[in-house]
Amino acid sequence: MDALIPLFIVIPLISAFLIMILGKLVKGFHRYFAPFTLLVLIAMTIIVFANLGGSSIQYAVGGWGLEKGIPVGIFMVLDAFSVLMLCIINLLGFIALFYSISYMAKYTAESNYYSLFCLIIAGMNGVVLSGDLFNLCVFLEVSVIASYALVAFGVGKTELEASYKYQILGSLGFMLILLAVGLIYWKTKTLNIADVRQVFEAGYNQPYYIFVQILLIAGFGLKAAVIPFHAWLPDAHSSAPSPISAMLSGVLIKAVGIYVIIRLFFNMFVFSHEIALVLTALGAISMVVGSLLAIVQWDLKRMLAYSSISQIGYVLMAMGMGILLLLKGNNEAAAILAIGGGIYHMINHAVFKGLLFLNAGAIEHRLDTRKLKEMGGLSSAMPITSTTSFMGSMSISGIPPFNGFFSKLIIIIAAINGRFYLLATLAVVVSIITLAYFLKFQRFAFFNKSANKALSKIREVPFPMSFSMIILATLCLALSLLAIPSVSELILRPAIDVLMQSDLYSTTIIGI
């Protein structure tokens, strides 16, 4: 079982290099080899998920374990929380790849596309599995640089401009993170996350601690497009090819942005009240402003991009509330609810945002337009796309049978228990605004009288695209089972425990 962990990164890397070498020789090799490697990764994730069960595995790369009690080499850490992230990454990756078999036919240089896609998957698996600060930055850059090239895959003017802005802000974010890692190494003389926690628990002075945490929030906030740093997200996600914007919005800003913020602020830093307030405030602001910006958009993919910012705000706010409640200490149950709701909403958002971007891609594939005003009356012409997009829209705006409702409900209950009444009302108001602009999307795209005459000619999208949309739609329903206490005890609770008992994380590594 231990030998599987490095394979999560090595298999997509080898497939990326093979695709580039054999892509031009063997006809259609890239189109079917990449989904095959993702299938292998999903199988490995299921094996690991089955027999992990709440324990955590440390893999010392290169055989350099502990010397005199100090971890020397790079550790790869797999615990309950990172297994959930692995499931999201590899499942969404496979579905987006399967979708792009027919969607990418209209682009040139397809083997580059599939090779870069495998590199994004390898980078994200590397970030989720790494237990070392600098190693985390290197694999973060692998996935982010691959996504720079994929955002500008159809080399038009808007794509190039969006990719340029995305790269400049991305490299500024990386420089802030590098400065923070340098300052951490300056004080703690080590790079292993668990070891840094040991040193920080021994004591730190306040201005240094706040400055390093603010730098990390700014750096990873740039990667996760939290409100003050979100400038690149709408252009990048709307001009990328649809399977890529599904991967970016659904998985990349989570695995590379939110996951790292949660992992560092729960397992590496000692909780501090001011930073918890900053995180909650950032979450609440991006929740509200994201939805307000989304409601005025007439370009479908820009609207979905802004709604990603607001849903990410939900997750960040829930995590900030969790830290605040843990600091107060009296209300353990509400903290569990808040953190569980945050993780649950992160998983749900990956599924329904991926689905909505794939729907937008299907509409664009057939109508070649992204403007809501130019669409109309597609429910009869494209039945599968309209039903799956209806299920996606209902689940993102939190309508009962779907998974969005349960995760938002858990977050709101946690806010009420923890006496954050303002945050609870904000969450409800934003959920209503989300419902408003998704109804607008449904009305203009599917149920309106069609503006263009060539409606009769529009047929349903080919099999790979509709099949992947159907899988995601059924997932939207299946994931609502996670709210049942017995099921969530099995799946979500180990992840919550990993974040709650953060000193357990460091002792397992140091205490070998």
Partner: protein
């Protein structure tokens, strides 16, 4: 202490350039300047007084050596900086071929 503050001042100059410059090439230049300052801070952290360069002479006895870890980190970061600079140059040359200007504001309001 003053050396670190000077490096951070260089970082702020680069940040100023990133925010205010409108020319594609000058934005890339200011990005490189921010990178240089961060690399210098990292190597300054690893410096030890009277330490030798991290090349061990097999014969000699116990010596004080400079910390090799920040140097390994900076070597990786330099190549990451080269990677992003290469892709930014690719986009800059492509936009210049199409619009004969490097000014980001002019490119923004030109038609697609």
């Amino acid at each position: 202490m003053t050396v670190y503050l000077l490096c951070f001042a260089l970082f702020l100059v680069g940040l100023y350039g990133l925010i205010t410059r409108r020319n594609l090439i000058k934005i890339i230049i200011s990005k490189s300047i921010t990178e240089f300052s961060i690399f210098l801070i990292l190597v300054l952290i690893g410096y030890i007084d009277k330490g030798l360069a991290p090349i061990v002479d097999p014969g000699t006895s116990q010596q004080i050596y400079v910390d090799p870890l920040p140097q390994a980190m900076v070597l990786t970061a330099i190549v990451i900086g080269l990677a992003t600079t290469a892709m930014l140059m690719a986009i800059a040359i492509r936009l210049y071929r199409k619009y004969k200007t490097f000014d980001i504001r002019e490119i923004k309001n030109l038609r697609g």
